[in-house]
C-alpha cells in the first residue's frame, strides 16, 4: 500500500500529471515521436543516396574505395559497445545501482569520444587528399563529378550523424552530473531512459550508414 503513496508523492512528479506512470509514458511517447522525425530527417539523405548511387554506380563504387572500411568497422563496434553500456546504465538506474549507473554512463561517454576521435582522423585524412563534397572535390579520378557527389553524401550523412553524437555527449555529460548527485533512482529515472532511446537511434543510423557508405558504396 505504502508503495503507491510514495509514487504519488514523488518530488519529480509534475503537477499536470496524475501519477508518475502517466508522466513517464507521456515522456516516452514524446521521445518516440521525436525519433520518428529523426528517421525521416535522415531518410531524406538515404533516399537521395539511393537515387544517386543508382545513377552513378561506377563513380560511387570508385569513391567508396577511398573509405577505410576497418576504421568504419571499428567505429561500428565502438557504437555497439556504447549502446550496450547505455542500456546497462538504464538498467542500473531502474535497479537503484547508482554507482554502476555513473560508471556505465562514463563508459558510454568515453566510447562516444572514441567514435568522434576516429571520425576526426578519417575526416582529416580525406581533407588532406582533397576528397571533399561537391565543388570542393579535388580528388580527381574517373567520373570526378560523380565521385564529388558521393563525398557530398558522405559528409552530409556522417556529419549530421556526428552532430547527433555530439548532442548525445552533452546529454550524457549532464546525466553523469545528475547521477553523481544521486538524483536517479528506481522511482525516477526517465531522463536516463529517454537519453538511452536517443542514443540507440543514433547507433541504429550508423548500423545503416556503415554498410551503405563503407562496404557497398
Amino acid at each position: 500500500m505504502s508503495d503507491s503513496t510514495t509514487t504519488a508523492h514523488n518530488p519529480y512528479l509534475q503537477h499536470h500529471y496524475a501519477e508518475m506512470e502517466q508522466q513517464v509514458d507521456a515522456g516516452k511517447i514524446g521521445m518516440w515521436l521525436f525519433l520518428a522525425t529523426e528517421v525521416l530527417l535522415f531518410g531524406g539523405l538515404f533516399v537521395g543516396f539511393a537515387i544517386m548511387s543508382a545513377k552513378h554506380h561506377e563513380a560511387f563504387k570508385l569513391a567508396h574505395e577511398h573509405l577505410d572500411r576497418s576504421l568504419g568497422a571499428l567505429n561500428t563496434v565502438v557504437l555497439l559497445l556504447s549502446s550496450f553500456t547505455m542500456v546497462m546504465a538504464v538498467d542500473s538506474a531502474r535497479h537503484n545501482r547508482q554507482k554502476a549507473l555513473v560508471w556505465y554512463l562514463v563508459a558510454t561517454l568515453t566510447l562516444a569520444g572514441v567514435f568522434l576521435g576516429v571520425k576526426y582522423f578519417e575526416y582529416s585524412h580525406k581533407f588532406h587528399l582533397g576528397l571533399l563534397p561537391g565543388k570542393y572535390y579535388a580528388g580527381g579520378g574517373e567520373d570526378a563529378v560523380g565521385q564529388a557527389m558521393f563525398f557530398s553524401f558522405y559528409f552530409m550523412m556522417t556529419g549530421l550523424h556526428g552532430f547527433h553524437i555530439l548532442g548525445g555527449i552533452v546529454v550524457i555529460a549532464w546525466l553523469i552530473r545528475r547521477s553523481i548527485r544521486g538524483v536517479f533512482t528506481s522511482a525516477y529515472n526517465a531522463p536516463v531512459d529517454l537519453a538511452g532511446l536517443y542514443w540507440h537511434l543514433v547507433d541504429m543510423i550508423w548500423i545503416y550508414l556503415f554498410p551503405l557508405l563503407y562496404l557497398i558504396g
Binding site: A36, K135, M149, H200
Partner: protein, 103 residues
C-alpha cells in the same frame, strides 16, 4: 544483464558477417546490397526490440516508430518509381554542382 550481453554478442557477430559478406561476389552487386541491408535491418531490429525495450514496452511506442519507417518506405519507393519513369530531363551531376554554385 545476460540478455543485453547476448544481444551485444549477436550484434558484433553480425557486424563481422556483414564485413565478410561485402568481400564476396554473389554474382550480382544487387545481391550484395540486399545482404548488407538485410543484416543491417536485423541488427537495427535487435537494437529496437531489446536495447530500446520495444519488445516489452507499450505497443503505442512501437506503432509510432513503425509509422515513421512506413512513411520512409513510401518516400523511398515512390521517389524511385518516379525517377525510373522520368524522361531524359534528369538531375545530372553537372546540374547538381551548378545548383550548388548558384546556392
Amino acid at each position: 544483464m545476460r540478455t543485453y550481453a547476448i544481444i551485444l554478442g549477436i550484434l558484433l557477430v553480425l557486424t563481422a558477417i556483414t564485413v565478410a559478406a561485402s568481400g564476396i561476389h554473389f554474382g550480382s552487386p544487387a545481391i550484395n546490397v540486399v545482404v548488407a541491408l538485410g543484416i543491417a535491418s536485423l541488427k537495427a531490429s535487435l537494437v529496437a526490440l531489446f536495447f530500446m525495450h520495444l519488445l516489452h514496452d507499450k505497443p503505442l511506442n512501437a506503432l509510432i516508430f513503425v509509422a515513421g519507417l512506413v512513411f520512409l518506405a513510401l518516400f523511398l519507393i515512390l521517389t524511385l518509381i518516379d525517377v525510373d519513369f522520368r524522361l531524359p530531363v534528369e538531375v545530372t551531376p553537372t546540374a547538381f554542382l551548378t545548383g550548388l554554385r548558384l546556392w
